[in-house]
C-alpha cells in the first residue's frame, strides 16, 4: 500500500486489530455471553455440567436459527412478525398431512416447505408492492397464520395438537435428520445444535463474502441509492422474507421430530424474542447494520438465561424481565459504541 509515504491523515488512521475488533457489531454480545455463562456456572451446580449444557444449547439452537434469519432480514431493513408462528404452521402442516390424510412423510415435509416459502414470498411481495411497513404486513400474516393453526387444524382433525406422529410410516428417516441426538464428552447434543451452527456459518458467509450479502446491507442502509446503482432491491427483499420462512420450516421440523408432536399455539409469542436476540447481537432496528454471529450469540444468551434461572432456583417468570433489561442494555451499549465511533472520526 502507498500509505507508507503518504502524510498522516485521519482517513488512513491505522486501526489496530483490537480497535477493529471492538468495532464489530457482535462484540457486545460475545462479552455478555461470557459473563452470563460464568455467572451461572459459578452460582449453580448443574449449569456447567454436560447435562446442563445440553439443555441450554438445545433451547439456544432453535431460537438461534430463527434469530440469524431474522437478523439478515433486519439488516435488510425489514421485520417479520410471522416468523414465530411459521414454526408451528410448518409442523402442523406435516402433522395433519401425514396423520390425518396419510400422505408420505417426505412429501408432506416438502409441501410444508413450499407453503412456507410461498408465505415468505407473499410477505415480501406485499411489502414491496404496497409500500406498507413490513411490521404491519407481517403482523397481518401473523394473525392469519395463527387463525389457520388454531381454527383450520381443529376443523380438520378435531383437536389442537398432532398425535400419533411416531406411528407414521418412515417416521424414523426424517427423525434422523431433525430429531436425533449424539454424544459429545458425556453430553447428549441434539442435532438442532448442528443445524444452528450450520445456519450461522452459512448466513455469515453470505453476508461477508457474497454479492447477495452486499445487497442485503445496501437495501437496508440506503434503499434509494441501491436502486440507483442497479441492486435488485425487489429480489433481495423477497429473498430475505423467504429466508425467514425457510428458517421457520427448519425449526418447525426440528420441534416436530424432537417431540413427535406439535401444538396449534407453537411459536406464538416467539417473534419478538428473535428480534431481541438480533438486537442484542448488534443489529440496528433501522437496518443496514448487524451480524449473523451476533444474533446467534444473542440466542445463546437467551438459552443460557432461560435455563439458568430455574437452575438458580428462581421463579422462571423472571426470564421476561431479564430479557427486557438485556434488550435495553444492548441498545444503550450499541448506541454508545456507535456514538463514540462517530466522534472518533
Amino acid at each position: 500500500m502507498a500509505t507508507a509515504t503518504a502524510p498522516p491523515d485521519e482517513r488512513v488512521a491505522t486501526t489496530g486489530p483490537v480497535a477493529r475488533l471492538l468495532k464489530r457489531p457482535e462484540i457486545g454480545a460475545l462479552i455478555a455471553a461470557l459473563v452470563v455463562f460464568l455467572f451461572f456456572a459459578l452460582t449453580t451446580e448443574t449449569f456447567a455440567t454436560p447435562a446442563g449444557a445440553s439443555t441450554w444449547l438445545q433451547t439456544s439452537s432453535t431460537i438461534g436459527i430463527m434469530a440469524v434469519a431474522v437478523a439478515l432480514l433486519m439488516i435488510g431493513g425489514e421485520f417479520d412478525l410471522s416468523a414465530g408462528v411459521m414454526t408451528g404452521f410448518t409442523g402442523l402442516t406435516v402433522g395433519v398431512l401425514t396423520t390425518h390424510w396419510g400422505l408420505n412423510i417426505w412429501v408432506a415435509i416438502v409441501v410444508a416447505l413450499a407453503l412456507a416459502l410461498a408465505v415468505g414470498a407473499l410477505n415480501g411481495f406485499m411489502v414491496m408492492k404496497t409500500g406498507l411497513p413490513s411490521f404491519i404486513v407481517t403482523l397481518g400474516t401473523f394473525f392469519v397464520l395463527q387463525g389457520i393453526d388454531l381454527a383450520l387444524v381443529k376443523l380438520i382433525i378435531g383437536q389442537v395438537a398432532i398425535q400419533g406422529m411416531s406411528n407414521v410410516p418412515y417416521y424414523d428417516q426424517p427423525k434422523k435428520l431433525f430429531g436425533s441426538t449424539f454424544e459429545v464428552g458425556g453430553a447428549t447434543i441434539h442435532v438442532s445444535v448442528i443445524w444452528w451452527i450450520a445456519v450461522t456459518i452459512i448466513a455469515s458467509w453470505i453476508l461477508m463474502r457474497t454479492r447477495a450479502g452486499n445487497w442485503i446491507f445496501a437495501v437496508g442502509g440506503a434503499q434509494g441509492a441501491s436502486r440507483q446503482v442497479g441492486v435488485p432491491v425487489f429480489r433481495t427483499k423477497i429473498g430475505l422474507f423467504m429466508t425467514t420462512a425457510f428458517a421457520g420450516w427448519i425449526v418447525g421440523m426440528l420441534v416436530l421430530f424432537r417431540t413427535s408432536t406439535v401444538q396449534s399455539n407453537t411459536g406464538i409469542g416467539q417473534e419478538f424474542i428473535y428480534i431481541i436476540c438480533a438486537v442484542v447481537g448488534g443489529c440496528l432496528l433501522t437496518g443496514g447494520y448487524g451480524s449473523a454471529v451476533g444474533a446467534a450469540l444473542g440466542a445463546l444468551i437467551y438459552g443460557m438465561v432461560n435455563q439458568g434461572i430455574p437452575y438458580s432456583g428462581w421463579d422462571s417468570n423472571w426470564l421476561k424481565a431479564v430479557l427486557g433489561v438485556m434488550l435495553l442494555g444492548a441498545c444503550l451499549i450499541n448506541n454508545w459504541v456507535r456514538k463514540r465511533a462517530e466522534n472518533a472520526r
Binding site: R11, G213, N214, A218, V229
Partner: protein, 510 residues
C-alpha cells in the same frame, strides 16, 4: 463536427404541483465537458435523474449514439453507458469502500465476491483519483463528506461509462481535491468520454468546461455557449433574468468602538486545533479562511459547545461559557449554522416553515401551545430573505432542490434572535443570485449589532465578506489581520508555508 453522443429534446417532467422540467433540450458530444448552469431549483438535478433513469420523463425523447433510448430504470441507463454522481451523497455506510464502488456490478464468480480482486481494482481507481490513502476495506460510514464524495466518483468511474454526469461534485471538496478531480476529468475527456458537469462555481466552469447549457425554470434558455469566453454578466443574466452585483457588500459605517462580544482565548482540542484566540465586536464580521480539514469547522463547533474544549475559554459579553455545553452557548445568544446541513438539522418530511421555526419554537409558544400563524409568517419572511424557491412555506422540504434545502437551514438561524452568529459555509451549493442576497443579509445583520463569524473554503468569499480574517492551517491560526490588507494569493501562501514547515494532516473535515 461529430454527431452528438447524447441528445435530449423537449424533456418534460412534472411533480405534483410543479413542472420541474418544461421542455429541456441538451446536446452532449463525445470528448467534451458540458456544463449545466442554472439557479437553485432550475431543474438541473431533475434533468440528470431523467438521464440516469431514476425518473421517467412525461414527454420528450432521448437519443444516444444515434439511437432512440428509453431508460426504464437506473440499470438501463448504466447499461447504455451513462454513469451518474448524484448531488446527495448516496453511499451505504455499513459497507466497505470497495463494496460501495462495485455495488450493483460486483466482481464475483457464481455469486461469491472476489474480495482481493475488487479491493485491488478499487485501490487503482482511488489512486487514479489521487487518493491512495483511502483504504478499500475501510467502512464507508467512517469517512468524511469529502472522502465519501471521492468514493462516489470512483464508483461512477468503475462503470466504464461513455457519459459521466456529475452533480455538484466539488461542493464538499477543497481546492486541492478539486484540482485532482479536474485532472481526472481531463483524462476522461482526452479518452473521448463525455462529461456533464454541474456546479454553481463559475470559476470552475471556466477552468474545465468546453460548452455550456443554461437552464431557467425548467427550460433551456441558452445552449452551445462557449464555457470559457461567455462573459459572466451574460451568464448571470441568462440564469437569473436580472442583473446581480458581483460585489461583496463592504462595510458602509465605521465599526463602533465597543467591547468585544465574543472572546475566544487559547481554545484547543487535542489532535484537532491548538491555541486559537480571537475576539469579535458587535457589528463585526470575522472570517476563518483555510482549506477543508484545516480545523475551521471544529473550531466553530467547539465555540458553540458541540465539541468539548480541552483547553481555553469562550466568553460572551463578559461571561465565560461552560465547556461542551450547547445549552449554555444558546442561552448566551450563540447560533451556529452547521456545515453539514442535510444530516444536521432538516426534518425532510416537514413543511418549510416548520423547519425554519424549529430552533425558535419557544418564541412562538404561549402556555406550551405554539402559535401557528405567528410562526408561519415569521418563517415565511425569513425564507423570503434567503430566496427559497418556490416561495411556499407549506412545501415539504424533501421536494426542494438541494440548494434550496440549504437556504432553509440558513433561514432558520437568521430567524433566531442570536447575538453571535457562527456560519459554516453559508453559501455552499447556493446559486450566484441567492449568494449575493445572502451576503447582503449577513452584512445587514452585522450592522444591526450582531457579532458574526464566517467559515468558508471560498477564500474570495471570506475576504470579501469579513472585516477581519484568521487564516487557519493544520489547526493553528497562522495569520490574523484586516481582510482589506491581504488577498487570496497571500492567504494561500501562508497556508502553504505552514504546511511545508510542519507537513502534517492534510485530512478532510469531519
Amino acid at each position: 463536427m461529430p454527431a452528438p453522443l447524447l441528445q435530449l429534446t423537449g424533456i418534460v417532467k412534472e411533480f405534483p404541483g410543479v413542472r420541474a422540467l418544461d421542455g429541456v433540450d441538451l446536446v452532449v458530444r463525445a470528448g467534451e465537458v458540458h456544463c449545466l448552469l442554472g439557479q437553485n431549483g432550475a431543474g438541473k438535478s431533475t434533468l440528470i435523474k431523467v438521464l440516469a433513469g431514476a425518473y421517467q420523463p412525461d414527454e420528450g425523447e432521448i437519443v444516444m449514439d444515434g439511437e432512440h433510448a428509453h431508460f426504464a430504470d437506473p440499470q438501463a441507463a448504466l447499461a447504455a453507458g451513462i454513469a451518474t454522481i448524484y448531488q446527495e451523497l448516496d453511499l451505504v455506510d455499513g459497507l466497505s469502500v470497495a463494496d460501495n464502488i462495485f455495488l450493483g456490478h460486483e466482481r464475483s464468480r457464481f455469486g461469491f465476491s472476489r474480495v482481493s480482486d475488487s479491493n485491488r481494482a478499487a485501490r487503482e481507481l482511488l489512486v487514479s483519483l489521487g487518493h491512495p490513502e483511502i483504504r478499500p476495506s475501510r467502512e464507508t460510514g467512517s469517512l468524511s463528506a469529502a472522502g465519501k464524495q471521492i468514493v462516489s466518483m470512483a464508483r461512477a468511474l468503475s462503470r466504464q461509462a461513455q457519459v459521466i454526469v456529475m452533480d455538484e461534485p466539488s461542493a464538499v471538496l477543497d481546492p486541492d481535491e478539486v484540482g485532482g478531480l479536474f485532472r481526472v476529468i481531463e483524462d476522461l475527456r482526452a479518452s473521448g468520454k463525455a462529461i456533464v458537469y454541474i456546479s454553481h462555481r463559475l470559476e470552475e466552469i471556466r477552468r474545465i468546461g468546453d460548452r455550456l447549457t443554461v437552464l431557467k425554470d425548467g427550460r433551456t434558455v441558452a445552449a452551445d455557449l462557449p464555457a470559457r469566453e461567455t462573459p459572466t454578466s451574460e451568464l448571470i443574466a441568462l440564469m437569473t433574468g436580472r442583473e446581480v452585483s458581483a460585489e461583496y457588500p463592504r462595510r458602509t459605517t465605521p465599526l463602533p468602538d465597543a467591547e468585544p462580544l465574543l472572546v475566544v482565548d487559547g481554545l484547543g482540542r487535542t489532535d484537532e486545533f491548538e491555541d486559537v484566540s480571537f475576539s469579535v465586536r458587535p457589528g463585526e464580521i470575522v472570517g476563518l479562511a483555510g482549506l477543508v480539514g484545516a480545523g475551521r469547522s471544529e473550531i466553530v463547533e467547539t465555540v458553540y459547545g458541540a465539541r468539548r474544549a480541552d483547553r481555553g475559554t469562550v466568553t460572551v459579553d463578559g461571561r465565560t461559557l461552560r465547556r461542551g455545553s450547547v445549552d449554555a452557548a444558546v442561552a448566551a445568544g450563540l447560533g451556529l449554522c452547521p456545515e453539514e446541513r442535510k444530516s444536521q438539522g432538516l426534518v425532510l418530511d416537514e413543511a418549510v416553515y416548520r423547519n425554519i421555526s424549529l430552533a425558535s419554537l419557544p418564541r412562538f409558544s404561549r402556555f406550551g401551545a405554539t402559535r401557528d400563524s405567528a410562526e408561519r409568517s415569521a418563517a415565511h419572511e425569513a425564507s423570503r430573505t434567503v430566496d427559497v424557491r418556490p416561495d411556499d412555506p407549506d412545501r415539504v422540504v424533501r421536494t426542494l432542490s438541494g440548494g434550496n434545502q440549504q437556504k432553509v437551514v440558513l433561514a432558520r438561524w437568521l430567524l433566531r434572535s442570536c447575538r453571535v452568529l457562527l456560519l459554516d459555509e453559508p453559501t455552499r451549493g447556493v446559486d450566484v443570485g441567492a449568494r449575493s442576497e445572502i451576503y447582503t443579509l449577513i452584512r445587514t445583520l452585522a450592522d444591526e449589532g450582531l457579532a458574526v463569524v464566517v467559515v468558508s473554503s471560498d477564500i474570495d468569499e471570506v475576504l470579501g465578506l469579513s472585516d477581519r480574517v484568521l487564516v487557519v492551517a493544520d489547526g493553528r491560526v497562522v495569520h490574523s489581520g484586516p481582510s482589506a490588507e491581504i488577498d487570496a494569493h497571500n492567504v494561500l501562501d501562508r497556508i502553504l508555508a505552514s504546511n511545508e514547515s510542519s507537513h502534517e494532516s492534510e485530512g478532510d473535515a469531519a
